[in-house]
């Protein structure tokens, strides 16, 4: 009799644990969905926050890779966001992701939102260090022209002048 009572209590406890587990996981899912909607991660090396939804608009702030921004408004392929520093402006949606880059491997500049464990993950994966090791193993590879090519930069103003001089008229939504 006593044994049976004990077993029932054990089963009840297991049920409570099971229910608790469901509750926790559901809350977690809701929280995850909510944060995906409310925060976006900058996925380019240098994110530009502009005064209007156009590449020609003035840059009002710069954000770094892995920094979280809060979306305020959508307009086509642009999002009005608020940065960590509290600046509001427009970013092109291709510079943003809902993926949490801080939880994934990478390098240095995402200190702002990462916890201790996340920072420990930073620097893992295919990074500058791995490139260095790879270079050491492949002495025939020369990165001089890779670096030089990456230095060819064209400003939005130059692009605009190029289009105008070439008598090119971008369609609605293009090039801007």
């Amino acid at each position: 009799m006593v044994m049976k009572k004990g077993t029932r209590r054990k089963t009840d406890r297991a049920r409570y644990r099971g229910a608790g587990l469901i509750l926790c996981v559901l809350l977690l899912l809701i929280a995850d969905a909510w944060s995906a909607e409310t925060r976006w991660n900058v996925q380019v090396r240098e994110g530009q926050v502009r005064s209007a939804p156009s590449f020609l608009a003035k840059i009002v702030a710069r954000t770094s890779y892995g920094e979280w921004v809060t979306p305020i408004q959508d307009q086509g392929a642009w999002k009005k966001v608020k940065t960590n520093a509290g600046v509001q402006g427009w970013m092109h949606v291709s510079a943003l992701t809902t993926k949490n880059l801080a939880l994934r491997a990478g390098t240095t500049n995402r200190r702002t939102s990462a916890t201790g464990g996340e920072i420990a993950l930073a620097g893992k994966g295919f990074s500058e260090d791995v490139e260095k090791q790879y270079k050491n193993l492949n002495r025939n590879l020369d990165y001089t022209w890779v670096d030089r090519t990456e230095r060819f930069r064209v400003s939005p103003e130059e692009m605009q002048a190029f289009l105008k001089r070439g008598e090119l008229a971008p369609a609605e939504g293009g090039a801007q």
Binding site: G18, C24, L29, H92, K124, G125, V130, L141, R148, A171
Partner: protein
């Protein structure tokens, strides 16, 4: 595993199967911690669940943009070990202004390190686009272009490969799992020299997968037609004549040497690409760019 344990793990399994890949990892991590804490699963079972959920959710998409960038840089270095750059500033500047203007109008204007273009000093008819946004075009391919619209078509096709991530898709699945497992399963531990060496080997393997596809095997026909489709749309969007693509392919057909190790080997025959483009309404090979546009093209690339 007793019946009770199954019962306790059931909600966990149900939730995992419903969740998306990325969410799944986070949820799995936390749920296994809870499971462990309540005594439902042991530490080794928890680790095994973590490893399994990580392994099944792996794809090239799981590499961060920063990792894609480093992969692309080394792919670029491999291309540049086979081809020398055409070191003429005016030519490279012109190709960059045109290429970056097109890229900015594409559906993927912003990538980790931006788009950058370089002309290669070779008579081969060839072009390469790395996942990091480096685009290489040979002088031989530039000679297939009679005007800026044709050149825009060449660059737009390469931007198409980047936009649709064809390079990253060339990395073998097993290698992706291997790389991301080394990175993630090791967790918050500091990577030792053995892990770094392992990661460097995997990195080299991924570079090999991409360069072998780009330089030797070529992308699938479907990927090439897809890049042509992106190019035609992009040309229209910026104001170029999309028939430039057709005109360029017609010239390429004349210039390609049968049995060559360039586009002749890695791309569908120009005729097949032309036939595919005709289905989408392109048909002319008499592109007439504005006089000012033709003048600058002739000035810079007239004797390439």
């Amino acid at each position: 595993m007793n019946k009770n344990l199954w019962y306790r793990c059931l909600p966990l399994i149900a939730v995992l199967s419903l969740a998306s890949c990325q969410t799944m990892e986070t949820v799995a991590d936390v749920a296994t911690v809870i499971g462990q804490g309540t005594g439902a699963i042991s530490a080794s079972q928890a680790n095994s669940i973590r490893r399994t959920t990580k392994a099944v959710s792996r794809s090239a998409e799981d590499f961060t943009p920063e990792q894609e960038y480093y992969i692309g840089r080394s792919v670029g270095a491999v291309v540049l070990s086979k081809y020398k750059p055409h070191d003429i500033l005016a030519v490279n500047q012109y190709v960059n202004v045109l290429g970056q203007t097109l890229a900015q109008a594409s559906d993927l204007p912003q990538i980790f390190g931006g788009y950058h273009f370089l002309v290669l000093n070779s008579d081969d008819i060839n072009a390469f686009a790395t996942p990091s946004g480096l685009v290489f075009v040979t002088r031989g391919l530039l000679r297939c272009c009679r005007n800026e619209d044709d050149l825009a078509a060449v660059l737009a096709h390469e931007i198409g490969h980047i936009e649709r991530r064809h390079g990253m898709a060339a990395i073998e699945k097993a290698r992706i799992t291997e790389a991301l497992t080394t990175i993630a399963v090791e967790g918050a531990k500091t990577l030792g020299s053995r892990e770094v060496a392992q990661l460097t080997r995997t990195f080299g393997g991924a570079i090999g997968d991409i360069t072998n596809t780009m330089i030797n095997k070529g992308y699938s026909r479907a990927s090439e037609y897809e890049a042509d489709g992106v190019a035609a749309a992009l040309l229209r969007r910026v104001g170029y004549d999309p028939n430039g693509l057709l005109e360029m392919l017609t010239a390429m057909k004349r210039n390609l040497k049968p049995g060559g190790l360039d586009f002749a080997k890695t791309h569908p025959a120009p005729d097949d690409r032309i036939a595919e483009l005709r289905k989408s309404g392109l048909g002319r090979t008499d592109v007439r760019p504005a006089a000012a546009r033709q003048k600058r093209f002739q000035q810079i690339l007239g004797r390439i």
